[in-house]
Structure formats: C-alpha cells, structure tokens
Symmetry: D2
Subunit: 145 residues, 4 copies
C-alpha cells in the first residue's frame, strides 16, 4: 500500500550503460548530471518494458504528456570513468497518480550511485498546460502484468 492507501504495482528493469568520454569532467570522472540523464532513460525503459511501446508511442496512443519528476534524491558512493560499463537496475512502484522509482548503478557488483524519484503522470489541459492526472487504468493493468 502507498502512503495514501493505494495498492501498488511494481516492475523492474536492468540495462548496461557505457560511461562515455563526453560524460566525464576534468577530474576524469563522470559529471554527475549525466547520471540523471541515465536514470531518466532507465525510467522511460521501465514504461517501455511494461507497456510494450516507446514513450513516443505513449504520446500517440494515450492521454499522456509526460511523467515529470517531482523530487529526487541521490547518493554518489564511488566515481565511474569513461570506458566503464555499468549496470543500472531500476524498480518502479505505481500509485494512482504518481510513481516511485529506485535506481542502482553499479560497476562489477559495487554500488556507485543510488537514486530515488517521485514522478507524476501529466496530461495537457484545454489551454495546453501540463497538469497532474490519475494514471490510466490500462497503464496500471500493464504494470500489474
């Protein structure tokens, strides 16, 4: 159950990511905003896996204008470097109108970074403005598998 009493469905995914030269800073280690780019793509991949469609297709077929971040928290335990092939393991818990996502980025079994995200489902209102909205039941059903 979530904080507001909604049954939660969870799903997970893992993928390999190469840390690139251009992701790294003059200290030779990853520039940490690049981690958030990696985590954002991992979150998109969770939806793609569960729904069987890309985020682009979600825009075409669902009442959907994105799943923007409301808050995030991250810890950086060990730096990574260009040429490192890291593993990103991600897990999502879906509530009625928001999602909790956890990412763990590791190198050869050692955790390098951890991140948690709170995201909301948004749609466009009549004026084209983004507003939070309940997650469509069809989407929740997919996450339930």
């Amino acid at each position: 159950m979530t904080e507001n009493g909604t049954a939660v469905t969870t799903s997970s995914n893992s993928r390999n990511v190469r840390i690139e030269w251009g992701d790294c800073d003059p200290a030779g280690i990853i520039f940490y905003p690049r981690y958030f780019e990696i985590f954002d793509s991992s979150t998109a991949m969770l939806f793609e896996r569960a729904l069987g469609m890309t985020k682009f297709q979600m825009f075409k077929t669902l009442e959907f204008a994105g799943f923007p971040l409301v808050r995030t928290r991250a810890r950086f335990l060990k730096p990574t470097r260009f040429g490192d092939d890291v593993l990103v393991e991600s897990k999502i818990a879906c509530g009625r109108s928001s999602f909790d996502v956890e990412h763990r980025l590791s190198l050869r079994g050692e955790t390098c970074a951890e991140c948690s995200e709170k995201r909301v489902w948004v749609v466009r209102d009549a004026d084209g403005r983004l507003k939070s909205h309940a997650v469509p039941e069809a989407v929740l059903a997919k996450f339930r598998g």
Copy 2:
C-alpha cells in the same frame, strides 16, 4: 545577393559566455559538442534581438515551428577551458527560406572556434509534420531593421 538571387538582410550579435567545468572533458578542455550548444543559443539570440521576442514567443505569435540546422561546418583552432570567459560573435544573413549564420568564438582576441550554419524556417503541416517554409515577410522586415 544569395546564390539563388535573393536580396539578403544581415544582422549581428555578440555575447559573453563562461566555459563551465561541466562543459569540459577529462583532457581539461571543452568537449566540442558544447560549442554547438553555445552556437545554437547564439543563433536564437540573433532572432531575439532582431524580432524583439524570445523563441518561446515566436512559437506563440508566428507561424513557426523552429529553424533547424540543415548543415554546419566548424573549425577548432585553440582549446578553451573551464573558467574561460569567451566572446561569441554571430552574424546572420537571411534569404527567403533559409539563413546563413557565422559564429566566431574567441578568448582575449584570439579565435578559438569558428562555425557556419545553414538553417531553414519550418512550420507544422496539417498532419503536424515539420516542413520548410518561406520566412514571413514581417520577420525579414525586422532583420532589415
């Protein structure tokens, strides 16, 4: 006159840009894709200066969906580093449906990078697809000053 016989109007702009730590790579110098981000912003600034509105306002008030790049060419003469305050001088020549933009990025008077761009004015067709379009006369008039 342009290659296709159209009278051309030109406009210019210059701005100072700080090269940031996160723009630089493990060699300690700017990662060159960051130059293209800087040049793209400088091109937007040329339009903002000429039209008296931001690119965001252009979307609201003009038949306009962007000025995407068709081709570019750049030379990198001297590297720049985090903490460098560089000068970016930009010049635009507007034809009927395309723009030629030249950027020169310099540090203390020495040219570090040069770039030229060919861009087109695009609008959305009935299906929402981007297509090239003649530059509105009102826009050309603004560039003529």
Copy 3:
C-alpha cells in the same frame, strides 16, 4: 555548529540564468538534469566569489582535485521554459572537510526548483586517486571573509 561540532562559515551568491531551447525536452519544459548542471555552476561560483579565483585557478594554486557531490536532493515545483530568465540563489556552509550547499531557482519570485548538496574537498593521493581531505585553512578563512 555542524552535526559534528565544527564551527561553520557561510557564504551566498545569486545569478541570473537563461533557460535555453536546448535545455528543454519535447514537453517544452526544462529537462531536469540541466538543473543540476546549473546548480553545479552555481556552486563553482560560490567558491570563485569567496576565493577570488576560478576553479581552474584553484587547481593551479591549491592542493585541490575537486569538490565532488556525495549526495543531493531536489524538488521541482513549477516547470521552466526556454526563454525564461531565472534567478539562482545559492548558499554554502563549510565544515572541516565537507560543504552543504542550498540552491533555490525562481522565476519572477516563484520558486521553481530547490536543491541541496553535500560535497567534499578532494585531493589526489600519491597514486593519483581522488581522496577526501580537510578543507585548507586558507580556504575556510576566505569563506569566513
């Protein structure tokens, strides 16, 4: 006093930042990893203001290899868009070997994003590896003003 009993010195800075087209995503709002790039530059600016030298000069003149992030936390309250000129207000509290930084990003007085960072001072050990180190007294003295 900090959690571990060290007297803390604080310093602050504010700067204006233009949100650029290339910072924004297909929803038309800023792609949130760009906020972390902005905050990282604001943190560097806090040091530059206090020490009277750029981060580049810090590498040249101090026993210093960076001030990497150990953990961060951010909240995103209202989206910003290309063309927005936002204000970033930053505040640093320096302990003996770590820093707590707070950023507030606002548009026309309304808070859009908030971020807190824990960073450490690092140096290179004999093998060239990054390791945490006490902040030099000369640096702390500058923050004390």
Copy 4:
C-alpha cells in the same frame, strides 16, 4: 595516399544507438549537438575496436592525451525522435598524425545525418600542454590489422 603522401589505413565500425527523450528539443526532434556526442563516442569506439582497449586504457598505456577535433562538417537530412533506434556507421582513415572519420546515421535504411571529422593525435609536452604528435607506429599497425 593522403594529401601529404602517407599511406592510409582504414577501419570501420557500426553500432546501434537509441535516441532518448532528453536528447530531443521542444520541437520533438533531436537537438543536433547530441549528434556530435554520438559521433564522438563512435570515434572512440573505432579506436577501441582497432586497439583492443578503451580510451581510458589508451591514457594508461600509450603516449596519448586525446584525439581532439580540428574540424568537422555535418549535414542533417531527416530528423530523428526519441524512441528511434538508429544505426551509426563510422569509418576512419589514419594518416601519420591525423585521422579522417566519416559517420553516417540512419533510421530504417534512410540516412538522417552525415558527419566528417579531422582529428589529431595529441600528447602532453613537458609543461603539461597539449600538442599534436605523430601517431605511434604501434597504433597504426593495429589499424592496418
């Protein structure tokens, strides 16, 4: 033979790249500086394939401080979008102190972008400054296969 009479050795590589949400701009298409990030990684991959080591390992084992770009030229023929899985085919021709690299990025067989690069091999001089240098014979031998 190159322009300066040196026998040239060539090598090629291709890889699949997912265009991500965060690579795209408010027009919904890739923000073109991201193409240069992709091409830079593809060039690094050409070296990794030929030499059997990552760029990080090149720094450790060779007299090497990077292969910075001297000039580049690119054409953008069709836009790509988030969720597109593109193919990047790259080809390198190695001269005595410089490299010519060609990239072709395509989607379902259609060319979307083309790029050519001129890069040089650089080392650090006694003062730590980057300077151009002949490519080590051992490296050229690897490219000759």
